[in-house]
């Protein structure tokens, strides 16, 4: 039996196995280097002949030097087919002989052929199976999703980064709401399982921009209801959703002033939805506030008068945008992308109890009253 004289000696004794274990830890715990994994950058999902077809773009493990010369050269593609998205992804991955890694995926594009399919199941692959990066951009492609990945830009930028830039610019200008993975799955958790996704359309442009004179643009948006792609809405209606969801606080709107189009930039946007129970009906008051700034090509004598006029014109334009959006999305299609369920439950619980059992139909009967105030805080002359 070892006799321990002092606790101090014991401390030193215990340090030895501790150090050995720390050193041996890397060998004990099976681990995998990043270069040994299939780091997927983008995935496009289509549905053909009763099968999911997944096209993935991934880094081929080249050195950073080769990326610097032509970034697109270090990206490779693989296609997999399967009865589920998960199987199709696995098949695409198995062709490369590496385990899939979606933690760095930039964009997930769903083809138009998925219309009618349960998109929640598709997104579950990302959220539950592969722990995808929560800020992956999600979008729908008009036509085949895989066609989008084939676009090649002449400015040496990676195609998927270009898509990300297009999305971000649109979000910043208030044309579309945020369509990252987590905001979308959070929206899909409401009882009507509704969400919005932007639609990428391939359009013809100046041949200098891309190799084949085609680029991707967001011309409209897709509404999801019951977890399924329901309908397409116009760009102005999408902008209304973005304004009310109001997560980015900035937007822009075009008004007609002196027979000319003028772009008004909006900032510090605040939108408040206040439901009220009037009789047996719920009326939602939509109140907004925003700061506006504009520039014009000539100097006006009375700046104050012009600003007042522009404030009024902007208010009319915003109100019209919101009314159009609410009429189409809520009254016509019965889709809740504005967070109406939680707003009514939170602020008008009595009203919610009246309509909750028939919410899917009752949402179409909601009344909206839109009012707002715009304040011009900046103006200038464009030379």
């Amino acid at each position: 039996m070892i006799r321990i004289k002092k606790p101090k000696n014991l401390r030193r004794l215990l340090l030895i196995p501790l150090l050995i274990n720390v050193l041996a830890m890397a060998g004990c715990v099976p681990h995998m280097q990043l270069e040994q994994r299939l780091i997927i950058q983008a995935a496009a999902i289509d549905y053909e002949n009763d099968m999911y077809v997944v096209t993935i773009q991934y880094y081929g493990g080249e050195s950073l030097e080769s990326k610097k010369n032509d970034p697109n050269e270090s990206l490779f593609s693989a296609v997999g087919k399967g009865s589920t998205v998960s199987h199709a992804l696995q098949e695409a991955g198995s062709l490369t002989g590496k385990p899939l890694f979606l933690g760095d995926c930039q964009i997930f594009i769903l083809g138009e052929s998925l219309k009618g399919k349960d998109l929640v199941d598709v997104l579950d692959v990302l959220t539950d199976e592969y722990e995808g990066y929560p800020q992956i951009a999600l979008a729908i492609a008009k036509g085949k999703a895989s066609d989008l990945l084939e676009l090649k830009y002449n400015d040496q930028s990676i195609t998927i980064n270009k898509f990300d830039q297009i999305l971000q610019e649109n979000v910043k200008n208030g044309f579309i709401p945020n369509s990252e993975l987590y905001p979308v799955v959070i929206n899909l958790s409401n009882s009507l399982v509704c969400a919005y996704l932007p639609i990428f359309t391939i359009v013809d442009v100046n041949p200098g921009i891309t190799e084949d004179g085609k680029t991707a643009a967001i011309l409209n948006g897709a509404l999801i209801k019951g977890g399924r792609y329901l309908d397409t809405i116009e760009r102005t209606e999408v902008a209304g959703i973005s304004f009310i969801q109001n997560k980015n606080m900035t937007s822009s709107i075009t008004i007609a002033h002196n027979d000319r189009s003028m772009l008004v930039n909006l900032s510090n946007i605040k939108v408040r939805l206040s439901p009220k129970l009037i009789g047996n009906k719920i009326m939602i008051e939509v109140k907004y506030r925003a700061n506006a700034s504009y520039s014009q090509s000539h100097v006006d004598a009375d700046v104050v008068y012009i600003s007042d006029h522009i404030e009024t014109l902007t208010e009319v334009a915003i109100t019209e945008r919101l009314v159009t959006s609410l009429n189409k999305v809520v009254t016509e299609l019965g889709v809740d992308v504005f967070g109406l369920e939680e707003t009514i439950r939170s602020k008008c619980y009595k009203g919610w109890m009246l309509i909750k059992d028939n919410w899917e139909e009752e949402i179409k009967n909601l009344d909206f009253h839109v009012t707002g105030k715009v304040e011009v805080t900046g103006y200038g002359v464009r030379w």
């Binding site: 014991l10 401390r11 929560p134 987590y182 959070i186 958790s189 707003t343 939170s346 619980y349």
Partner: protein, 373 residues
């Protein structure tokens, strides 16, 4: 344990452990993550505070004693009986803690790590900390506490833009049935209170303050975390395995994106601290019955036994939860946290009365003896 630890050190360490346990909660197993969670937290913490009142009164009245030392003063045999029951329970608590730790590690970044390796490494760290003693452990963990608070505040600021306050709708009115079944486990799972029960003797200056401040502090931290979960994730919260990890990855701060590594480090350290604190409690009780050095050596086989039990538990998670259910923990909780402080308070009062009587009797006896002489 030569020098005493400060009450703030104990609060910080225990609050860190309590708050981090909340971070790593597994919603489907433990709690319903809805708006009801706020009601559950408010009611359970209020009840917990009420249950701790006897313990607070005992430590205020007798700051240099704990319930166990009072029982030993009364009878050593009774002391051994209490030590056996509470010791076995505390050992089960350790196995429970390690099991949760192992489950979390294997479900986050070390999915292929072998359980024996994890448990063995863990116990080597625990043994080292145990030998180092309470004072060193408390000092180290203060740093972790400030780090954790810093992260939490940073997270709150970073997530502000993603918050939707409309998610705070009154679901309590819609689902009141599950309220009681959620409140009871919420109280009984506060196993760290046992540490206060025994270690209050080693706390320097006003030990009752540590206990009375601990519950409100942990309550505030858990409320803040639940506020973040609900405001950011809304109804999606019920589908998320680790809500703290989910909201952290949504923050636009790069360091928080990679929180899986950082929180694993904090989680490991807090679990190590909790286990050491429980082991030191067992040692503290032993040292009331045998001398300090022997108590130290006698605790080492206990560490070994718990290590072996943890290995067994790590492979049978569901069975372990079934075998040592929260209800059984609740019975022990009520007996020791509520019952024992009340009983020992009256025992101590009785002992003090006897001492006083003896002291008053002594001069009288002396007077009688001198008179007889």
């Amino acid at each position: 344990m030569h020098a005493k630890i400060s009450s703030y050190q104990v609060i910080a360490v225990m609050a860190l452990a309590g708050a981090f346990a909340e971070c790593m909660n597994i919603p489907n197993d433990v709690s319903e993550y809805t708006m009801q969670r706020f009601a559950v937290l408010i009611i359970s913490n209020a009840l917990l505070f009420l249950l701790c009142i006897p313990l607070i009164i005992l430590s205020k009245k007798y700051p240099n004693d704990n319930f166990f030392s009072i029982i030993v003063q009364k009878s050593k045999v009774l002391g051994w009986i209490v030590l056996t029951i509470l010791g076995l329970h505390l050992m089960a608590v350790i196995v429970f803690l390690i099991d949760k730790f192992e489950f979390y590690v294997q479900n986050t970044i070390m999915s292929t790590a072998a359980s024996p390796v994890l448990v063995a490494l863990f116990f080597i760290a625990v043994s080292y900390g145990f030998i180092k003693g309470l004072q060193a452990i408390m000092r180290t963990s203060i740093i972790m506490f400030y780090m954790f608070i810093g992260f939490l505040l940073l997270l709150g600021i970073a997530l502000f833009i993603r918050m939707n306050f409309n998610y705070f709708y009154p679901t309590l009115i819609e689902t009141p049935k599950t309220l009681v079944s959620e409140i009871i486990p919420e109280i009984f799972k506060k196993t760290e209170i046992y540490v206060f029960l025994i270690l209050c003797k080693h706390i320097d200056k006003k030990p009752h303050r540590a206990i009375s401040l601990y519950v409100p502090i942990v309550f505030s931290l858990t409320m803040f975390m639940n506020f973040l979960y609900t405001a950011v994730l809304g109804p999606y919260l019920q589908r998320v395995s680790f809500p703290f990890y989910a909201v952290s990855s949504l923050a636009d701060i790069i360091i928080l994106d990679r929180l899986d590594g950082i929180d694993l480090v904090i989680w490991t350290i807090t679990t190590v601290l909790q286990v050491i604190a429980v082991l030191l409690s067992i040692k503290s009780m032993l040292s009331e019955l045998i001398d300090e050095k022997k108590a130290q050596i006698a605790t080492l086989p206990i560490i070994l036994i718990v290590g072996v039990l943890s290995l067994f538990g790590a492979t049978n998670r569901s069975r372990l939860v079934k075998d040592y259910s929260i209800i059984l923990m609740g019975i022990v909780f009520v007996i020791f946290i509520v019952g024992m402080p009340i009983i020992s308070y009256f025992i101590k009062k009785g002992l003090d009365k006897n001492d006083k009587n003896k002291e008053t009797q002594k001069p009288e006896e002396a007077a009688i003896n001198t008179a007889a002489n």
